[in-house]
């Protein structure tokens, strides 16, 4: 247990990428509403179709990873743009660390099976305020996400390329 009483064991991870899993989609919509996480104008039902995986503790959704497939001009590549959210009372308890491997595997396997999409890897944009000293680590061990630059708003840009991908 953590000091605040939250269990710190590895959560159960449920992969949902392109599975139309109505259960996790409903849990995610409730999670976003409870924590007011979605920006105005974003349809939760549409965002729910982008769920890659969710992390559960005692049957409650406590962390989520979603991805949108977009062309990233400066990399000349189609990438899965990753978004991650963790319930505040479960932060720093290994939720995103537990999601990292399954998220990478789900997207990489899907990319290999759908080569016509040309999905090259995963990209994430990280707020400096969110992770503190962890931003100083150039390659995150659990996810393999590496620093490749910064946005004008000073968000760190991290990428992990898929092993099987080759440019045309």
């Amino acid at each position: 247990m953590t000091d605040s009483g939250v269990p710190d064991g590895a959560p159960d991870v449920r992969v949902a990428w392109r599975r139309d899993d109505e259960g996790i989609e409903a849990d995610a919509i409730a999670f976003w509403a409870r924590l007011s996480l979605l920006p105005e104008g974003v349809d939760p039902a549409v965002r729910a179709k982008e769920i890659v995986a969710g992390a559960y503790r005692d049957g409650e959704l406590v962390g989520l990873a979603t991805a949108a497939i977009e062309h990233v001009t400066f990399l000349k590549a189609t990438m899965a743009v990753l978004r991650a959210a963790t319930a505040p009372d479960h932060r720093r308890t290994g939720v995103q660390r537990a999601l990292a491997g399954p998220v990478h595997a789900a997207l990489s396997d899907w990319a290999a099976a759908n080569a016509e999409v040309g999905l090259a890897g995963i990209i994430g944009f990280v707020d400096a305020s969110e992770l503190g000293d962890f931003l100083r680590v150039p390659v995150w061990p659990a996810s393999g996400l590496e620093v490749i630059g910064y946005t004008p708003e000073n968000r760190q840009i991290r990428v992990r390329w898929f092993d099987h991908f080759r440019f045309d």
């Binding site: 890897g121 931003l135 490749i148 630059g149 390329w161 440019f167």
Partner: protein, 171 residues
């Protein structure tokens, strides 16, 4: 599993000579470039020899390959990186010694960076000609050397970075 340079090319002698002012290694490097005629006309062999990072010799002690390097900043990642140039004698280019030299250099520089934190050397950087890379340029991440694509220069060359895992960025 990680393979070392010595395991990959056991008949060769790899040495790390970065910033050691090793006069013998520098003289041998100048002899190597003269023999192969592979330095650009405007490059000074003596100056380039001061940038020696690693050498590799065959079983007779003859220098058959080398790596030189300079440190510089890639603004995009806000980090100081080592930019390397490698050369292998033509007769060894089809063997494994060139790749082994690259692995040796990577491991030695990573150790050097950890032992000299004041230098703030974060990893390797490189600007790669697509033509020179051919098939390898299509692969955005090279797992053996951990060299990954981070973007392109205006002239189309790839920008690649390989981070030292234990380095910590200044944020």
């Amino acid at each position: 599993m990680t393979i070392t340079a010595e395991e990959m090319a056991p008949d060769f002698d790899f040495r790390f000579v970065w910033q050691t002012d090793d006069a013998e290694a520098q003289a041998d490097a100048i002899g190597y470039w003269t023999r192969l005629g592979n330095l650009p006309h405007n490059a000074s062999a003596e100056e380039r020899a001061k940038e020696l990072v690693c050498t590799v010799r065959d079983g007779t002690g003859r220098l058959v390959g080398l790596v030189t390097g300079r440190m510089g900043l890639i603004d995009q990642v806000r980090a100081r990186l080592a930019f390397l140039r490698g050369s292998i004698e033509p007769e060894h280019r089809r063997g494994r010694v060139g790749f082994a030299l690259m692995l040796f250099t990577r491991a030695a520089m990573e150790r050097w960076s950890a032992e000299h934190p004041e230098e703030k050397l974060a990893g390797f950087g490189g600007f790669m000609e697509a033509e020179e890379l051919k098939e390898r340029g299509r692969q955005p991440y090279w797992p053996m050397t951990r060299f990954g694509l981070i973007g392109y220069l205006p002239d189309g060359r790839q920008i690649r970075v390989g981070w030292f895992r234990d380095f910590r960025l200044d944020i």
